[in-house]
């Protein structure tokens, strides 16, 4: 049975491998993409009639390559069009090709394809848009919707990004070990960016942006299947799963952000949590820690706590301490301070974040967290100033609404005792 949904799914999952191989062959992104599109059109005609091929990706690579070569030849000499049959009838050839292109070849093809999208000249948003278009095969319309911009604007953004990478020098030889691990790190960072683009959405847009999170997880799993023994890729995949597991509990009915402590934990997706925890288990065996594994371990400690008060904050403090050494950043220290406030109190936490003020002077979370510590210490006026600043810096309406809730509480608490609402 070859129904439309099956073909659609097969084309989507073959895409990174097929476009990656075609890119290695033609060394030009547009030609590779067009070749893949042509192969897909032929698949839509051929598969329902002849049944699906044993290896859809190999079929698409073969047909895409043949069609593109014919196009090139035709443009040189005015030759008659080849018969469709001649191009698509390649049972034997397909088998040969599948054998020749073994797993390790595919692996570097897909990695290269992803790596091209992480070109350092491209701003993060363009990297993401390009990866979603080229690797994931999302339509410009889908991507524009997820980014909340017009289709025309997204089209332009992708065209520009493509032009940039077209001029870039990318090695097509099989990468060496050092180069491969560099590429892997860049690609992992980009996948995390895709995820965060979806995850940081406000409640009003969370639904249209959720596909970004799902796509990031799909790409992380793909990468993990290609590089099965990389603990950081296990960590990345676990991190995304454990964070995404909380999606249903992160916003209330009105679209306001619900903090971890206040979330209805019965809404957490236990299947994703189980998979995330299993991946951390695998990663730990390698005794080769890294930033994604540590962040995943933090997420796992939250996932394991049935109630907020069960959370092992002391362990989270230690993990963030390790992350601070590995990847020093004021944002990591800020996260650690939240754990410290639970273990050693608000004053210790405040002492920790005060030196960050200069570097985080435009960071919403800094003022939100600092305000919360000040509030816990009863320094309400200072807390109010911090919260005001946070609202001014909020990225989404959900963030602003959340801080306003704190402010309302402050106003109530600061009111004269007789007037205090009870």
């Amino acid at each position: 049975m070859t129904d439309a949904a099956w073909i659609d799914g097969a084309l989507t999952s073959a895409r990174p491998q097929a476009v990656g191989a075609l890119l290695r062959y033609f060394r030009d992104l547009d030609t590779a993409e067009e070749a893949f599109q042509n192969a897909c059109l032929r698949a839509l005609k051929s598969w329902p009639q002849n049944g699906p091929p044993r290896d859809p990706a190999a079929w698409l690579i073969m047909v895409g390559r043949n069609v593109a070569i014919d196009d090139i030849r035709r443009s040189r000499r005015q030759e008659p069009l080849p018969e469709d049959e001649a191009i698509s009838d390649l049972d034997d050839a397909e088998e040969q090709l599948a054998e020749r292109l073994d797993g390790s070849h595919y692996r570097d093809d897909i990695l290269r394809l992803l790596f091209i999208c992480c070109h350092p000249d491209l701003p993060a948003t363009q990297q993401i848009a390009l990866a979603l278009r080229i690797v994931s095969g999302l339509t410009v319309k889908q991507i524009a919707r997820a980014f909340l911009v017009s289709e025309a604007a997204m089209e332009q953004r992708i065209t520009r990004a493509k032009a940039r990478v077209a001029g870039a020098d990318v090695a097509f030889e099989t990468p060496g070990a050092a180069e491969r691990s560099e590429r892997l790190a860049a690609v992992a960072a980009m996948i995390y960016l895709i995820f965060n683009e979806g995850y940081s959405a406000g409640g009003d847009t969370a639904e249209v942006r959720a596909p970004l999170c799902e796509e990031a997880i799909r790409l992380a799993r793909l990468l993990l299947r290609l590089f099965q023994s990389e603990p950081e890729i296990m960590g990345l995949t676990a991190l995304l799963l454990l964070q995404h597991a909380r999606t249903a509990a992160r916003f209330d009915a009105a679209g306001a952000l619900v903090l971890l402590d206040d979330q209805d934990r019965s809404l957490w997706n236990q299947k994703m949590i189980a998979e995330g925890l299993a991946l951390i288990d695998k990663a730990v065996r390698h005794r080769q820690s890294g930033p994604y594994q540590i962040q995943a371990a933090v997420a796992a400690l939250h996932a394991r706590a049935a109630k907020p008060e069960d959370t092992d904050w002391a362990q989270i403090d230690l993990l963030y301490g390790a992350l601070e050494i590995m990847q020093p950043s004021p944002v990591v220290t800020l996260n650690r301070a939240v754990a410290v406030s639970k273990v050693r109190g608000a004053q210790a936490a405040l002492d920790m974040v005060e030196p960050l003020g200069e570097r985080l002077s435009n960071y919403f979370h800094f003022f939100g967290v600092r305000g919360a510590f000040l509030m816990q210490l009863g320094r309400n006026e200072e807390a109010r100033i911090a919260f005001d600043r946070a609202i001014a810096l909020a990225n989404t309406s959900a963030e602003a609404a959340h801080i306003r809730m704190h402010l309302d509480r402050l106003m109530r608490d600061s009111a004269p005792h007789g007037a205090k609402a009870k």
Partner: protein
Amino acid sequence: MLYAILCYNDEDSVGSWTREQDAAVMKKLAVVQDGLTKQGRLGPVARLLPTTSATTLRKDDPPVVLDGPYAETKEQLLGFYIVDCKDLDAALDVARDLGAANPGGAYEIRPVGLFQPGAIAK
């Protein structure tokens, strides 16, 4: 005779089902399973986590632990165990013990996502 029914499918496409699609399939399966349970004919049912969560123990001497699922084609599936373990290391310890008793071949260790113990009538 007891029969094992092993489930094969493309994990990418099954994994990309929405929660609603997944629930719909599970509901239809439950109808079939409930019928078997009432007749006392259904044994344990397990849904495994994706192959990315798999680890393989090659029962060589000494045994070798590899990340990822069992990927060879020269050996065939001959049986399986379901064991309660606190983590992957504990599961690997069990597999090593089993492997010492019966060397050769490999064990693929996969976390179980969903488990129904079932009840076969004696």
